[in-house]
Each structure stands twice: as C-alpha cells, then as structure tokens.
Amino acid sequence: MTALRSWEGLLFAVLVLIYAVNALNSPVFLTPGNQINMFQLSVEKIIVALVMTFIIINGEIDLSVASVMGLAACAFGWLVQAGVPAGGAVAIALAIGALCGAFNALFIVGFGIPSLVVTLATMIAFRGFARVLVEDRGIGDFPAWFDTLGQQGLIGPITLAIILFAVFAALAFLILQRTAFGRKVYFIGANRAVAEYSGLDVRAVKAKIFIASGLIAALAGLLYAARVGAVRGDIANGFELDIITMVLLGGVSIFGGAGTMSGTILAILIVLALRNGMALENITGHIQTGVLGLLLILSVMVPIIRETGGRLIGKMR
C-alpha cells in the first residue's frame, strides 16, 4: 500500500515536472484553449483506458479495444449511409460493441482461452469487419447534430466527450475503489483461487468487464467519428498501445491484483501533457508513440531499477 502511494506520488511529481517544462517551452501550453485541445485530441483513448484498468487489474488484457472502436465507428457510418437514422445507428453501434465484448468473453470465460490470444485474434477480426463495412472509402456527411456534439463545446468550450470522460473517471474511481464489484475485481486479479473459494462469481465478473470494455470502446469509437466527422477502415488503428501504456504507467500490474484508478488518471494526464508538449515542439505522431513505447518499458522496469538501486545502496553501506 505504501509502495503504491509512493508510486502515485512519483507520478504526480513527474506530471508537475512535465507541466513545468512544457509551460517554460511554450507560452501556449497553459492556455485554456490548448488544455482543452489536449484532452479533446485523445479523449477517446483516455475513456477506454478507464475500463482497461479494470481488465488489467482483473489479470486479463483486451487488445481488441481499438478494433472495436473502429468497427463501431464504421458500422455507424455504414448505417447512416444506408439511410438508418443517426440515433438508431448510434444504438446499433453500441450494441455491436457490447456484442464484441461478449464474443471475447465467450472464448475467455466460456472456453478458458487466455485473453491475450483471444483478443489478439479478435483485434484482427474486428478490424477486418470494419474494413468489410467501409472498404477503402471514407464515409462522412453525418447529421449536423452528431458532428456538433463531437466538435463543439457543450458547457462553454468543453465538449461532450470531455464531460463524459470526467463523469466516467469519477464513476470508474468509485466503482473500482468503493463498491463490492471493484473489490471483486481486485481479489480475482490477486488470486483467482482464493476468490473462487470465497464464493465469488469469478466468471460473471470477468464477462461483465469484457462486455463493458466492448461497450465503452464502441462509445469511444462513435465519439471519434463525431470529432473527425468521418470514418475510415483504419480509424483508431493502434490505439491499444497508448491505452495499455497509460494503464501500466499508472502502476497497474500486468499480472493483475494491483493498481489504482487514481494511478491510471495521473498516468493519463502525464501521457496527454507529454504528447501535447511534443506536438507543440512539432514532433510527429510516430515519434510521440515511440517515446510512449520507451515510457512503457521504463514503467515495467521501475520495480527492477528500484530493487537493484536498493541493493547497490545496501552494498555501499
């Protein structure tokens, strides 16, 4: 517990540092416009990172989230183009997302195949379905209300997506840290056998979070479609890396059982500020992703570095 608290302390210090450096480097960084823009440009990823936190603490992984985002967005586009009212298309796209999650859960919970393998396969398959729907076209021309929701401020300059993120972040925090469901998520991740011996409904919990993951990813995909105003087959491609990086950087253990929602939220802020700072310095997206990759390796190595450092200090004494 102490170690975790200090990990969050470290994250907070890093965050302050990044903010300070960015602010010194660019007068634009701290302006409200840029801060809102910073969230707006990655808002879909950070929404999915919240539910990914549940999945990884539970001892699983979902590599298919970005493909579900793409599939939901493309399904929406396809439906609108086919003349379905946009409201109905939103509902169907969300249902497709939940179905994708249920499909993952069927193989993971039902057949007992590791989530890594299942979601690696469905990551390809769901992306494939997205491409089947829109092929190599781009679909745009959504109803004005849809584009407006994605692009314009709802409360002052703050968009719907950012409001949703704030609401979801609060909800995710409360569910994970304050409810019985959250407690179950931790125990199942920490020691599945203990959870089963204690009469917990392990399979139901796992199925629920995978379905939630599909649903939330679909919503994020729709938000992305609304923000960009168009969909393409490769929409949200590769987002899973950013999302997983945020969660692991937040101190969630890849082996499950450990981590907190506040850690994830701090890590989200770090990643956003880092990307925004680099963008202000005109560093391209690919390089930004590379830096994130480096950050991911560093974050899984921190326990080792700390241990080795401790041993060295011990030796010197």
Partner: protein, 329 residues
C-alpha cells in the same frame, strides 16, 4: 495404427490447405495458373521467414509483436546503406539486413531474458519504438526503386529454376532453405531441443540445468535476424520503402504460427506446420482479392477468425486429450 499427434496435425493442415485451394479453384476462373503461383510464392516466402522467427519465440512461451517494425527498419536501413554504398557486394547485403534485424531482436531479448519482463509488454513497446526510429531516421523521405541498384530490384523476380510454367524464384528457394535449416536445427540439434524444453516445463528445465535466459535471448535474436532477411526480400520485391513498411506483419506471423499448430503456450510445434500455416494464410489473403462473390476486404476478418478457430480447436482438443489421460491414470 496410431499416428503421432504432430504428424496428424501436419496432415490435417495439408488437407485444409488443399481444400482451400480447391475451393477457390471452383470459385475463381483460371485460378490454378502459373502466374498466380508465382505471385503467391513470392509473398509466402516473406511470411514464412517471419513466421519461423516468431515460432522460435513462441516455443519458449514468449511472443514477438515487434516483427513488423523490424522488417520495416531493416528494409529501410539496408536500402539506405545501399544507396550510400551502391558497390557493396550483393552477397553481403542480405547478411547486413539480418545483422540489423538481429540487433533489434537482441534488444527485445535482453529486456525479456535479463529482467524477466513480460514479452508482450516489451515487444508492444518496441513495436512502437522501432517504428519511430524508422520515422525519425527517414525524416519523411522514402527509399525509392530508382535509387537502388538494379541487381537488387531484379532479384525478387529472378528464377532459381523453372518447372514448366512454374517459376521458382530465388527468394522462394532461400525461404524454403531457411525453413528446412531451422526445422533441422529444432529437431536434430541438442541446442534446438532446449527451445522446446523451456517452453514445455520451465521448472523442470531449470532443474535439468538448462539456461533459459540464454535460449530466450537467442530466440529473439533469431526472430530479429529472420525479420531482417524478410526485410531484405521486402526491399527487393517492392523497392519503395516508406515509414509504414512491414506494418501489421507481426499479426500475420503470429497467425501463421498458431494456425501452423505451434502451441501458443510454448513447448510444442513443427516448422513444416508453420510453413503450411504461412502458405494457407497467404493463399486465403491473395485469393479473397480475386474472389468476386466476396469483397477483398474480408481478408483481415477471415484471418482473425481463422486464428481464433485454430487456437480454440487446439485448446479444446488438447484439453479433452489430457482429460482422458487424467481419467485413466
């Protein structure tokens, strides 16, 4: 008579492969012609190489998701070096590409073997990291065919020999030789068996005095080197290398390995199966493009479902098999 499980797997794969080819032959006019064979064999050559590399890694209970980026990087850097030094002896060039790939693989292997980091995380990170190295060094500029020596761009279509109308290209010959060499290494050499041993039972391997760290490191280096060789072929086939070269190849390599019957939890598998798996995936990929009934955009969806089906069938089958054993014990 009982057929060993491994042989049975290969036979089933061959049957599935034959059925797939026959199916497309019945659907597509003029499917079974030499030109198609020549085209497909060239791309199978590339997939088979990276699938073999992936198989080494998967056998040890790990995974290498950075392969696509390594292919892109080694193609790009090899091309760049060739443009700077066009007089390099041609034989040296593929070796150079392999060395570049091996270097990337060594970084993966070092992180996984030395610090016991989960390979999925490490290679997910290096997938992005290597790609960004490529972007950074290319600075947006691309390798183009006209800047490369002609011997290189012609190499991909040069035939080693022809069988009637079938052209057997050098890259296919090289790829098959690599698969065979790797197969012989894994089945006939003591060092090859350690890959199976540490994937099969890490505890027992430690007990038997096998150095797991060294073997895992080697697996990643091999995976990198073969991705490098694939990068050389990629360069030769396409000539134009952009920052997206090799994108997504890691998924095809995992697909070929899994469909080819390598246990995703390590310890068992056969490279001949992997070769058939690579061919199967590529045939489906290429044929869907020509099948009029279904849009070519089904390729990825079919690949994903194929992988899922292969893993599910294998898992459930093996479980039933082991259950039966458990019951009789």
């Amino acid at each position: 008579m009982r057929i060993p499980l491994g042989t049975l797997r290969i036979l089933v794969l061959l049957a599935v492969f034959a059925a797939t080819v026959l199916f497309f032959a019945s659907q597509i006019d003029g499917y079974l012609n030499a030109r198609l064979f020549n085209r497909i064999s060239g791309s199978v050559a590339v997939i088979a190489l990276i699938a073999v590399g992936q198989a080494f890694v998967v056998l040890t209970r790990n995974i290498d998701l950075s392969i696509g980026s390594v292919v892109g990087c080694s193609a790009y850097f090899t091309g760049g070096i060739l443009i700077a030094y066009p007089d390099l002896p041609p034989l040296l060039v593929p070796l150079l590409a392999m060395a570049i790939g091996a270097l990337f693989g060594a970084l993966n292997g070092f992180l996984v073997a030395r610090f016991h980091l989960p390979s999925i995380i490490v290679t997910l990170a290096t997938l992005a990291l290597f790609r960004s190295i490529l972007v950074q060094s290319s600075d947006g500029s691309s390798i183009t065919t006209d800047r490369l020596p002609t011997w290189l761009t012609e190499f991909a279509t040069q035939n080693a020999f022809t069988l009637g109308e079938l052209q057997i290209r050098w890259i296919v010959v090289i790829s098959i030789l690599v698969v065979l060499a790797a197969h012989i290494f894994l089945t006939r050499f003591r060092a090859g068996r350690t890959f199976f041993a540490i994937g099969s039972n890490p505890d027992a391997a430690a007990f038997a005095g096998i150095n797991a760290g060294r073997t895992i490191f080697l697996a990643f280096v091999l995976s990198g080197a073969l991705a490098g060789l694939a990068g050389f072929m990629f360069l030769s086939r396409f000539g134009n290398i952009t920052v997206v070269a090799g994108l997504g190849l890691e998924l095809k390599s995992v697909g070929a390995v899994v469909v080819g019957g390598v246990n995703i939890f390590g310890g068992s598998g056969n490279l001949l199966g992997v070769l058939i798996g690579a061919a199967l995936i590529d045939v489906i990929d290429t044929s869907l493009v020509r099948w009029e009934l279904v849009s070519e955009f089904w390729r990825e969806a079919v690949l994903g479902l194929l992988i899922l089906l292969a893993v599910a069938a294998d898992t459930l089958l093996m479980r039933r098999l082991l259950h039966r054993k458990g019951g009789s014990a």
